[in-house]
């Protein structure tokens, strides 16, 4: 990067903004189309009741919670990269962290829809928040679902703030580049940032603290989500390994999603200088690591189930690979444990094509991991007299598609209006202009 100069950086990164491009436009339209499909399905569901979805009691949770956990998981990589790697001073983060943070925000935004979508009477969902009312009723703070409400809303708030203050200097830079109305807008958005010594000083301090706050938050959020399952008595859920297992899975899927997003963006915006193979290889290594942890977690689950000698637990774990849901189980195993092994080879790690394919595979696999956990356990609970075989139906699938539409719509809009690579931080990585250099040359 040493051939870059500050001016070059600013120019390159602000270049793609507001330039309509066919590919981008098509993508956006497709996203909105998907969204409308989901919206229509939800309308039907609101009018006629959850019955339009394919639930088969006692499988009371299905695709919606699966997708909720999936998106929350996606939401992890962003903050991990921006916060934890910031604390670890991992330099490769600077190129990718803005985009992955945006991904986080929108993923959590998407995830947040699903508890509402899934509630039988979502018009009363606000009862889960503590607010004074004449009934003198409050939520049950002992319920993991209320923990969820707190965890998710906190996570969304904090990472949104973190994201925003990260954007401030870059929006200031954009302000100084664009003309007319845009100038006013960015001027307002960057809160009148001037980049004076005093501002930079407090800014850097605050940024550090946010990174420090986000780090435990990242870990906690998915732990809390995992407790939705681990805190229950259901065989296949009632396990102490869930928090680390879920967090690892989340980072795994998150990194995969970052790859899925950045690889096309790089070629679309000509950012080869900022998103180099070197960045992607680091991400791939992270995937490899977390994937290995995940595989280990699967194995441990089986060992514990067998070792506990608990007929219900073991029954469920036998049921997963052999029962009705064997297809889902083996799909999960191959996508999450087998295919990612290709990342051991540098050739694969450094080939964008292969990275992209594998990242897609991982995304699919991780969705099925959650489906596998939820559906199989509930379909095969304690009392055989209540065993069923649940499969999602079109409404649920429509809403799943809709959620992707929702996510990509926001993301695509974002990359067109905001600098998706951190200008200031890239500059930190560039050798500053020195008189000394010029004298010597």
């Amino acid at each position: 990067m040493s051939n870059l100069t500050y001016g070059q950086v600013t120019k390159d990164i602000i270049r793609p903004l507001f330039k309509p491009s066919l590919l981008h436009g098509l993508a956006l339209v497709t996203a909105i189309a998907c969204l409308s499909v989901g919206a229509y399905c939800w309308k039907l569901q609101l009018e006629q009741g959850l019955g339009v979805a394919g639930y088969e009691p006692p499988v009371m949770w299905g695709v919606y919670i699966t997708t909720f956990v999936f998106w929350v998981g996606i939401g992890h990589a962003g903050t991990l990269i921006s916060a934890i790697l910031f604390l670890f001073r991992a330099r490769w983060r600077t190129g990718v962290y803005r985009a992955s943070e945006a991904m986080t925000i929108f993923a959590v935004l998407t995830a947040g829809l699903f508890p509402i979508l899934h509630a039988g009477r979502c018009w009363y969902a606000y009862w889960l928040f503590p607010y004074p009312n004449q009934r003198q009723l409050w939520p049950n703070f002992k319920s993991p679902l209320v923990w969820d409400v707190f965890a998710i809303s906190t996570y969304l708030t904090i990472s949104a703030i973190f994201f925003y203050i990260g954007l401030i200097p870059d929006m200031a830079a954009t302000r100084d580049k664009v003309k007319g109305f845009g100038k006013r807008v960015y001027g307002a958005l960057c809160l009148g940032w001037r980049g004076t010594d005093n501002q930079w000083r407090h800014y850097m301090a605050a940024y550090g603290f946010f990174a420090a706050l986000c780090t435990p938050l990242v870990i906690s959020v998915h732990s809390v989500v995992s407790w939705d399952f681990a805190m229950s008595s259901t065989p296949g859920w009632h396990s102490t390994i869930f928090p680390p297992y879920f967090v690892a899975g989340a980072i795994f899927s998150g990194c995969a999603m970052v790859l899925t997003l950045l690889i096309p963006m790089r070629s679309l915006f000509k950012w080869e200088d900022y998103l180099t193979i070197w960045h992607f290889e680091r991400l791939a290594q992270l995937c490899l690591l977390t994937g290995a942890i995940l595989t280990y977690a699967y194995a441990t689950e089986y060992f514990i189930a067998w070792y506990s000698d608990n007929p219900y637990e073991w029954g469920t774990f036998i049921y997963r690979p052999t029962g009705d849901y064997a297809w889902a189980f083996w799909l999960m195993v191959s996508c999450n444990c087998i295919f990612p092994l290709a990342l051991w080879f540098k050739k694969v790690r450094t080939s964008l094509k292969w990275l992209f394919i594998i990242s897609l595979i991982i995304n699919v696999g991780m969705w099925f991991e959650r489906f596998n956990i939820i559906a199989t356990s509930l379909a095969h609970m304690f009392d055989p007299g209540a065993w069923v075989y649940y499969l999602p139906n079109r409404i649920e699938m429509g809403i799943l598609v809709g959620s992707f539409g929702w996510f990509f719509m926001w993301f695509l809009l974002f990359v067109k209006v905001m600098p998706s690579v951190a200008i200031a931080e890239i500059k930190e990585g560039v050798r500053p202009p020195l008189k000394a250099d010029e004298v010597t040359t």
């Binding site: 949770w61 979502c122 969902a125 009862w127 049950n140 319920s143 007929p311 304690f382 007299g385 069923v388």
Partner: protein, 997 residues
């Protein structure tokens, strides 16, 4: 916005995810209050009134709220309390949205005068051509019918498709008695059945259930052993300790062989000796495919112990049905049961005819009256059609038009039994009085009233001889009379009862006796035993054996022969063994299923010489490889919205085969071809998996352990599975992170005896009726969305000739450490001071976490806002709210009844409700015909439930989870030693002969 309702406003903002702060308060049209014009003195708004009456042959109390019957309670004045599902569903007969609301002539509505006029004219044209084809009737109605028809010189025939004509015929041949014998198994130690579904659909099942409970109770000093000898495991033989699977058609031979063996041990005389001479035991055994020594062992058990042997039923009645019944009677005779457990009796019941007799009788009818039958539907291949078509005019007494009636048929709706007067003889010794519990909803007249007004018609009256009975002047004005001049059927009945009263020699004034009868629901009849001398018996005929696949038919547990198919509850409640609803299924053995490559997901095409049907598959361990069993009851082409076009009618498969001696339809003996059907099975099993995979859910105790156990025995298979199994190395208080919540006054609990539970579904219907449980319908059942709060699991634990099926009714267990409570984010469910696991519907947001976390899968979720069609809504219980979409619901131990009891007692200054009141408080408990359930306050150690719940057979389901449930189960008693009683049990060392005693 200002016109917008506050809730809606919150709903909208709720959806958009932000809690609203504004509450705008519109006026919307208020509800109206309609007081009475003149208030009836017996009705207090808000309080129920009860009327003792009889519905579907079951003596009950009808619970009435504000003039509507809302529930059918068991009648506490009868010793065998309990209500059959059909009796409870009579409420739905009353509120049937599609029933005829007045007379119809040729499908068009008509007035009673028009209809009766038309009939009178037709009858007057040729009185002797009057024919009556009716169901089995007793009491006053029977007298009136015979009086009317014979008065006109016509003929009346009474046929029940799955009735007792064969047994009646056999009893006549054997003893010359006019009625079939009654069976009392309460004292028996050995129970044998040749295919009679005596606990469910066969004859007086209510009494049989009570008898079963007694025979299986330890208090009798012994626990009876039940052997079922039939080709299929029915709901009754599912309770059998031994199932001797016979080749279809060979049962009569087996019965004779058994009789022979018993006779050889105990000796026999006269007719029996003659009858049994030359019976070849070995041949019979081999023909049936039963090891001879098993027969011998069984015979010696019968000979040495008090026993009872039941004859056959629909499944085993072939062309030699009467011979089977005869052989069984002889067997009982030689075993010395006659007079003790088999009671021939002289009380004339109503006449019963076989199919052939009935058809002959009504042949060549001028005017044909059809009463309460669906002859074309029930007759083999609809053979009755021709006879009916031959009649000039057909008059139907029924709430809807039966199948295959000719043009111009007149329909006279009799209304429901809850709206009308009547009396019925139950068994031999009880005359039940049926009084209207509510005003008729529509322009209907009971059969009796219709007949009376017909007999008064100017064209008919002259034809009828008056005053068939002389009426003593009774002390309430002599208004009552039994001749056709009776003002109405009520006074007709009153007259006959007056006669009975006088005849009984009771000196008390009749009016008081009448009032008493109204209060308790009837009077006991003096029974006159007849001589039990066997007459000379005809030689047995040959059985028709079928090569290839034999068709077995059986009556649906609740729909019986199809007459109850119009009642939504009985269609909605899963049939206990198959778990199927709203349709017709065929049972085949696993081997057959493999051979045809079908499973429960598929259908089966069943083809016979006379027709073919498609039915869903139910693979059952209790089936032979050489037979297929099809349930009768569905496949109606007419009827109401709940009976029409569900399933198929297997009667079309049955050919012209008849029972040689009685002329009854030989339901057994049709040869069929079965193949995989084209369509998929649209029914889904609602009782999940029928093998409990060795999980200790429905547990068993070995009979010896139970019989020898002291009060607090913990030996062998008796393990009081109460609470988490303790480990001596761990201090006891360290099992719980938190202490058990305290219950100051009550800890409500329930005990359920899995041994006496026959899986009759009474509790489920009672629950549906009491708690306004939604009728989800087949669409929802396809997604396993059954809304009933009690799930009846049926687990097959046994193998081969030891079926050991365990019926396990699972409802909310009201845990003290309930997994569901802690996870509810809005405290819609929580543990209250009475130990109840409260569920507040309108606080529920519908996250469904509670249901996921319930180890018993006892919670139900409203996936839609289920509603009730017009006039079904009249049967809703006003004390229970109906649930809207998105709300969780579950068993509440009938909180409304508890609340009501508490309020009543507080009003009288009693702060704690006494045990005897609590004991049968919930609807399910009070409806249970075997008394398998008990309710009460576990905090009070004197309460019955506490005593039972601490007994040696008591255990808590999934106790290892330490949820501290309030429901205690009592283990099933098995006659085969369980291998590991704590893990299911029942498997293992196969049934050996010494288990017979």
């Amino acid at each position: 916005m200002s016109k917008m309702n506050r809730r809606d406003f919150f709903r909208v903002v709720g959806v958009s995810g932000t809690a609203g702060l504004v509450a705008c308060d519109p006026k919307s049209p208020a509800e109206q209050l309609y007081p009475y014009v003149i208030d009836p003195e017996e009705i207090t708004p808000g309080l129920p009134t009860y009327y003792a009456t009889v519905v579907e042959g079951c003596s009950v109390l009808a619970k009435v709220r504000e003039g509507r019957v809302v529930h059918i309670e068991s009648n506490p004045n009868r010793e065998n309390a309990g209500v059959s599902p059909a009796a409870q569903a009579s409420v739905q007969e009353t509120y049937d949205p599609d029933r005829a609301q007045g007379p119809q002539v040729g499908g068009a509505a008509a007035s009673w005068d028009e209809a009766l006029g038309t009939i009178a004219a037709a009858v007057a044209a040729n009185p002797a051509g009057t024919r009556w084809l009716g169901r089995y009737r007793t009491g006053s109605l029977q007298a009136l019918i015979s009086g009317f028809v014979s008065g006109l010189g016509g003929q009346n025939a009474h046929w029940e498709p799955h009735g007792h004509s064969v047994l009646a015929n056999a009893a006549k041949i054997a003893w010359g008695s006019s009625a079939p014998p009654a069976f009392d198994m309460s004292g028996a130690e050995v129970i044998v059945s040749f295919g009679a579904d005596f606990l469910h659909t066969w004859s007086d099942s209510g009494n049989h259930c009570a008898g079963w409970a007694q025979a299986r109770s330890k208090d009798n000093g012994h626990i009876a052993h039940f052997t079922a000898i039939e080709p299929r495991v029915s709901n009754t033989s599912a309770k059998a300790d031994t199932w001797l699977s016979t080749r279809p058609g060979t049962e009569a031979g087996v019965a004779r062989a058994l009789a022979k063996l018993v006779a050889d041990e105990k000796g026999s005389t006269g007719a029996a000796k003659a009858y049994l001479a030359g019976v070849d035991v070995a041949a019979a055994a081999s023909a049936a495919g039963i090891p001879e020594e098993k027969l011998k062992a069984l015979a010696s058990a019968i000979a040495s112990k008090p026993s009872v042997v039941f004859p056959g039923g629909v499944t085993t009645y072939g062309s030699d049905a009467t011979d089977l019944a005869l052989a069984v009677l002889v067997l009982n005779q030689v075993a010395g049961n006659v007079g003790t457990s088999v009671l021939p009796d002289g009380n004339p019941l109503g006449p019963i005819h076989s199919y052939t007799e009935a058809m002959d009788a009504v042949g060549g009818a001028e005017v044909l009256f059809i009463d309460g039958l669906d002859p074309v539907f029930s007759s083999p291949s609809g053979a009755a059609q021709e006879v009916i078509a031959a009649a000039k005019l057909v008059v139907v007494f029924g709430n809807s038009m039966p199948e295959g009636m000719p043009e111009g048929t007149i329909l006279l709706p009799p209304g429901s039994e809850l709206e009308t007067w009547g009396d019925h003889q139950l068994g031999h010794s009880f005359m039940a009085l049926q009084q209207p519990a509510m005003k008729p909803l529509y322009n209907t007249r009971s059969v009796g009233d219709a007949l009376l007004s017909l007999s008064k018609h100017s064209q008919i009256a002259p034809l009828l001889a008056n005053g068939t009975e002389a009426v003593p002047t009774d002390d309430d004005g002599g208004s009552s009379t039994t001749d056709f001049a009776a003002a109405d059927f009520q006074s007709f009945i009153k007259g006959r009862w007056n006669n009975m009263h006088v005849a009984s020699g009771d000196v008390a004034p009749f009016s008081s006796a009448w009032v008493q009868a109204l209060r308790v629901g009837g009077i006991n009849l003096a029974t006159t035993p007849v001589s039990a001398e066997l007459k000379a018996l005809p030689a047995p005929g040959a059985a028709t054996l079928v090569d290839g696949t034999t068709l077995l038919l059986f009556s649906h547990q609740n729909l019986l022969d199809g007459r109850h198919a119009n009642k939504a509850w009985l269609q909605e409640i899963p049939e206990t063994l198959s778990g199927y609803t709203w349709g017709t299924w065929a049972e085949i053995s696993p081997a057959t299923a493999d051979r045809l490559g079908v499973s429960n997901k598929h259908t089966l095409t069943i083809k016979s010489a006379s027709g073919s049907i498609e039915a869903g598959v139910s693979v059952s361990k209790g089936m032979r490889d050489d037979a297929v069993a099809v349930v009768v009851g569905n496949g109606h082409k007419t009827g109401n919205r709940y009976s029409k076009d569900y399933g198929a009618n297997p009667a079309v498969l049955v050919n012209g085969l008849r029972d040689a001696k009685s002329g009854e339809v030989a339901w057994l003996g049709t040869s069929v071809e079965i193949a995989k059907g084209a369509a998929d099975n649209i029914m889904s099993k609602l009782n999940g998996h029928t093998d409990q995979d060795g999980r200790p859910l429905a547990r068993a105790s070995y009979v010896k352990d139970v019989e020898e156990a002291g009060p607090d025995a913990e030996t062998g298979s008796l393990a009081p599975g109460l609470g988490i199994p303790l480990d001596p190395r761990i201090p006891e208080d360290s099992y719980d992170m938190y202490p058990e919540p305290e219950h100051p006054t009550y800890r409500f609990g329930m005990s359920i005896d899995l041994d006496s539970c026959t899986g009759c579904t009474s509790c489920q219907v009672a629950c549906a009726s009491e708690n306004n449980i939604a009728i989800a319908g087949p669409e929802q059942h396809r997604k396993s969305r059954y809304m009933g709060w009690i799930r009846m699991d049926a687990f097959w634990e046994g193998e081969g000739d030891n079926p050991d099926v365990r019926f396990l009714p699972v409802m909310c267990q009201q845990c003290s450490h309930a997994p569901c409570e802690g996870v509810c984010p809005v405290l819609a469910t929580y543990h209250n001071l009475d130990g109840l696991n409260a569920m507040i519907y309108n606080r529920c947001v519908g996250t469904r976490y509670c249901a996921n976390n319930c180890p018993y899968s006892a919670r139900r979720f409203n996936y839609h806002t289920f509603r009730w069609p017009e006039s079904y809504n009249l049967m809703l219980n006003p004390d229970v709210s109906t649930r809207e979409m998105g709300v969780m619901e579950k068993c509440t131990f009938c909180i409304q009844r508890i609340r009501y009891a508490k309020a009543n007692h507080r009003a009288n200054g009693i702060d704690v409700v006494p045990n005897d009141v609590l004991e049968s408080l919930p609807a399910c408990v009070s409806a249970c015909p075997t008394g398998a359930m008990t309710f009460g306050n576990l905090k009070d150690e004197n309460a019955t439930v506490s005593k039972i719940a601490s007994g040696p057979r008591a255990y808590q389901m999934l106790d290892a989870l330490n949820t501290k449930p309030g429901v205690r189960y009592l283990t099933k008693v098995v006659h085969t030693k369980p291998v590991d009683p704590h893990h299911g049990g029942g498997h293992g060392d196969d049934h050996s002969s010494n288990d017979n005693h």
